[in-house]
C-alpha cells in the first residue's frame, strides 16, 4: 500500500514538474511562444468576463464562448447577461445583438480602439506580439507568465492604459486578457475548458453583408 502511494506521488510530481517545464519552455521567449501558438489550429473555450470599477461593490460578470480558427477567424459569443456575438474573419469585424428574438447587426457604434484590440487578438493567438503598431510588448516570464502591452501613442492611451495577456501552462493557450482603462477600471476575460484543434463549423465566423 505504502509503495503504491509512493509511486502515485512520484507520478504526480513528475506530471507537475513536466507541466511546469513545458510551460516554462513555451513562454521562454518570443520565438518559443510563436512556435507553440502555431501548433494551435483551433480553440473553443468558455470565458468569464469581469468588469471592475472603483464605484462597483462587485464586478459586472458576463459569460460566453470563444472560438478561434487559425489564422484569422474569431467568434466571441456572449450568452449572459446580454446575448451578443462579435465575429471576425479576413473580411472584417461584425457585431450582432439579440433584439426582438433574433440577432441583428450593430450598425451604430464603431469604436476604433476596440477594433484595433480585436484585430490584435488575432495576432496574439498566432503568437505574434510585434505585428501591431499600436502597442509595445514586453514578456514577463513570471510565474505566471504574461505579456504586457502598453499603448505607443496618446490616442490609444485615451482608450486603454495597458493590456495584460496571461499565458496558460498549456502551450499555445491564453489564460486571460486584462484590459486596463486607468483609474482602476479593468475588464478581465478568463478562458477555461479550452479544447484545441477540433473542427469548428465555418459558418460560425461568416460575416453577413
Amino acid at each position: 500500500m505504502r509503495t503504491k502511494r509512493r509511486i502515485l506521488f512520484v507520478l504526480a510530481l513528475t506530471f507537475v514538474t513536466a507541466r511546469a517545464a513545458l510551460s516554462a519552455e513555451w513562454t521562454q521567449n518570443w520565438d518559443s511562444i510563436r512556435a507553440a501558438a502555431q501548433q494551435v489550429k483551433s480553440i473553443r473555450a468558455e470565458f468569464v468576463q469581469k468588469k471592475e470599477m472603483k464605484i462597483l461593490t462587485r464586478p459586472l460578470v458576463s459569460a460566453g464562448v470563444f472560438y478561434y480558427v487559425a489564422p484569422d477567424k474569431i467568434r466571441l459569443e456572449y450568452v449572459s447577461p446580454v446575448k451578443s456575438i462579435l465575429r471576425m474573419n479576413a473580411k472584417g469585424i461584425q457585431r450582432l445583438f439579440w433584439r426582438d428574438d433574433r440577432f441583428v447587426k450593430d450598425t451604430a457604434i464603431s469604436v476604433d480602439a476596440l477594433q484595433v484590440v480585436y484585430r490584435d487578438i488575432r495576432n496574439w493567438l498566432n503568437g505574434d506580439f510585434s505585428a501591431n503598431k499600436s502597442f509595445a510588448s514586453a514578456l514577463d516570464q513570471g510565474p505566471p507568465a504574461k505579456i504586457v502591452l502598453t499603448p505607443k501613442d496618446a490616442a490609444m492611451k485615451q482608450f486603454l492604459d495597458r493590456i495584460e495577456i496571461g499565458l496558460a501552462a498549456r502551450p499555445g493557450v491564453l489564460e486571460s486578457i486584462t484590459l486596463s482603462e486607468g483609474n482602476a477600471a479593468t475588464t478581465r476575460i478568463e478562458f477555461k475548458s479550452a479544447s484545441l484543434n477540433q473542427a469548428l463549423p465555418e459558418n460560425l465566423f461568416e460575416i453577413e453583408p
Binding site: I55, P81, V82, S84, I109, Q158
Partner: protein, 229 residues
C-alpha cells in the same frame, strides 16, 4: 442663389417640415370628474439611493442600431447621479456625474465626447431616474380619463406624467413652446421598485429611441465617493 445655398435651404425646409409633422402639443387637463390615480404620480422614480445595470437598445437617427450596458448610481435626495455607458465587451464609453453643481465628465470616447451628445445623454438619464426638477404645476386627467400631473422642467418646459393603461406610467416632456420633444414609457415597477423596461423616444428629424431592460438593481447608500472620479 448658388447651388449650395439652394441645397441648404431645401435641407432646412425638410428639417422644419419633419419637425412640424412630429409636433404634438400640450392639451388641457380636466380637473372635474377625474378618477383617482392608481399610483402616486412619481411612483416610477427610485425613492432612495440606488445602483442599477441596464441593457440599452439604441436606435440612433437614420435607423442605426446598437446595444450597450448602462450603469447608474443615484441619490434622489441630492438629485445627483452617475451614469456609465459600456460596450458589452466592457469598454467604458462614457462616465459622468450630473447634479445640482453641474456636470463632471470623467471619460468620454467618441462620439460621446461631443458636448451636445453628452448633454443629451445625461438629460435622458435624469429624465428616466429622477423626478422632474420643477414645481408641480397642475393635476387632473386627460380627455380619455387617465390621471395626469404636470411639473416644470429645468428648461422652462413641462413634464407630464400620466397613468398608462398597463399600470405603468408615461412621461411626456414638452419644450418651452409646449411642443412634445420626448416620451418615456415606464413598465409597472417590480417588487424592487424599478420598472423592468423603460422606452425613451425623442421626436424630430434627428429623433432616436432607447429601450432599457433592467438587468440588476439594488439600493445603495449614497456614499460621496461614488460621485468622484
Amino acid at each position: 442663389m448658388s447651388r449650395r445655398r439652394r441645397l441648404l435651404l431645401a435641407a432646412w425646409l425638410l428639417l422644419a417640415a419633419c419637425l412640424a409633422i412630429s409636433c404634438a402639443t400640450l392639451g388641457h387637463l380636466q380637473r372635474d370628474k377625474c378618477p383617482p390615480a392608481k399610483t402616486p404620480c412619481l411612483a416610477v422614480f427610485p425613492h432612495a439611493a440606488w445602483r442599477a445595470l441596464h441593457e440599452i437598445d439604441v436606435t440612433a437617427p437614420f435607423g442605426k442600431k446598437t446595444t450597450l450596458l448602462g450603469l447608474t448610481i443615484g441619490d434622489p435626495a441630492a438629485r445627483r447621479l452617475r451614469a456609465v455607458l459600456m460596450t458589452v465587451e466592457g469598454l467604458t464609453l462614457f462616465d459622468a456625474v450630473a447634479g445640482p453643481e453641474g456636470v463632471k465628465i470623467f471619460r468620454a470616447l467618441p462620439p460621446f465626447d461631443a458636448a451636445a451628445f453628452s448633454a443629451g445623454l445625461l438629460a435622458d438619464v435624469q429624465a428616466v431616474f429622477l423626478p422632474p426638477p420643477g414645481a408641480l404645476l397642475e393635476e387632473g386627467c386627460l380627455p380619455d380619463g387617465r390621471a395626469a400631473c404636470r411639473f416644470r422642467t429645468a428648461a422652462a418646459g413641462v413634464a407630464e406624467i400620466d397613468d398608462a393603461p398597463d399600470g405603468g406610467r408615461t412621461l411626456r416632456i414638452f419644450c418651452k413652446g409646449h411642443r412634445l420633444i420626448k416620451e418615456i414609457d415606464f413598465a409597472p415597477p417590480g417588487k424592487d421598485g424599478f420598472s423592468p423596461t423603460v422606452a425613451v423616444k425623442t421626436r424630430g428629424a434627428l429623433g432616436y429611441s432607447l429601450g432599457l431592460r433592467l438587468l440588476e438593481a439594488e439600493s445603495a447608500a449614497p456614499v460621496e465617493s461614488v460621485f468622484a472620479p
